[in-house]
Amino acid sequence: MSELIDGPAITLDDDWQGVGTAAAPDDAALYLELDGWEGPLDLLLDLARRQKVDLRRISILELVDQYLTYIERATELRLELAADYLVMAAWLAYLKSALLLPREEQPDPSPEELALRLHLRLQRLAVMRDAAARLMGRDRLGRDVFLRGAPEGLRVERKHKWQCDMFALIQAYGQVKARTAPVVHMVRDRMVMTLDSALSRVSSLLGVNLDWMELRDFLPPHADPRLKRSALASSFVAALELARLGKAELRQEETFGPLLLKGIRA
């Protein structure tokens, strides 16, 4: 057993941890070692590296033997082995027997292919393990190289520049007030033309015109539209009044047509 477990179980990088190899009693040592490997492939790689040859030239048969011996010893010591170690052992035993068979009796896939596959997997794990060690050995920030201890910090202060003008402000306030003011019905002071003023306006205009005139021509030409509506109504009533008094004639060619009127000279 000693030739199997003495020496470092794994070439440990400083940053690797997890293998409990401290001075432990013999029986427990093997167990702890197994515990330190991350599965059968890891153990195989370690055994392969102990062949002290280039990983390309390792003997798979020798490797299989070593692994099987190892597992056997563990079983003799009645150490609990994780199932995948035993599965690997069974597979390797099969591989070994296939490799020893005469060529013509070899099953498919060929044991050479199986051995090659194992070999390739070990290689890939090995190069990644080395890569990890090289990566960890680089000049690492915070360990070998340092950033500035107290950077002032670069700040972009995003600021919204809000825009609003006086008109928008007071308009908004006006609208709030108007919207929320108690509803009071108020008759507004409106621009109107009273009947009296319409009467005097229409009669004076009739006095200076001899021809038929349309009622709309009597309206003040530049008045506010609301005043115009009021003036139209008042002037219409005034025209009716003047006709009733026999001071004017009214004519309308069609329904809703222009209303014409002409003064009657006394």
Binding site: E152, R155, K161, W162, I170, Q175, T180
Partner: protein, 201 residues
């Protein structure tokens, strides 16, 4: 344009001060570097950095690197994007201006609409409204008032310059017909209260 490479002590002092979390005295640097006398190195470094974007300065006997003062404006940059205040925010601002100091509940009662939290935040961020304390009534609500920036922005000498209600009416700004139309047009503007809301400009 290459300088002769600095000697190792200068390099070590340079790196030590760079990595230090706080200004260091010459003694502390020296102790850190195994008891060296670093005064000469500090002076050489200060000379080297003179005129560069970084300066090595001594303050109260302790040394540290700092960025050149004339570049300060480049390092703390403000990025402004101009946004038009949403209608809701404008209303709230107007209410604060006319009624200050005023609580949020009072603003809501004047507006007749619930006011999103974001609306007041926008005004606080704009710097036009400030928290003016709390009203000493149950619940001690926060009360808001306008700021000097508000007056400046709107070109007002004082709040008394705001047009009165009569003037607003005379200007037709209290016309309920237009208001009804306007609020119908801008219904949904309430969401525009959040500062993220894009408002056209």
């Amino acid at each position: 344009m290459t300088t002769p490479p600095p000697d190792d002590l200068v390099r070590a002092v340079e790196a030590a001060l760079f990595a230090a979390g706080e200004p260091m005295s010459a003694e502390a640097i020296g102790a850190h570097l195994g008891g060296a006398d670093v005064r000469g190195a500090l002076l050489e470094l200060a000379r080297h950095y003179d005129g560069r974007g970084i300066h090595l300065v001594e303050r109260g006997g302790r040394w540290h690197f700092q960025t050149a003062p004339d570049l300060a404006h480049l390092l703390r940059r403000e990025k402004e994007d101009v946004r038009r205040l949403s209608r809701a925010a404008t209303e709230v601002l107007a209410i604060v201006a006319y009624h200050e100091p005023v609580s949020r509940a009072e603003i809501e009662s004047i507006r007749g609409v619930q006011t999103a939290k974001g609306t007041l935040d926008v005004l606080l961020e704009a710097g036009w409204v400030r928290i003016a304390g709390r009203r000493e009534v149950p619940g001690r609500p926060v009360i808001y008032a306008t700021t000097a920036d508000f007056l400046t922005h709107f070109g007002l000498e004082s709040r008394r310059d705001l047009p009165g209600i009569d003037e607003l009416r005379a200007a037709g700004l209290l016309d309920p017909v237009e208001d009804a139309l306007a609020s119908a047009m801008e219904a949904g503007d309430e969401q525009a209260a959040s500062p993220d809301e894009e408002s056209a400009d």
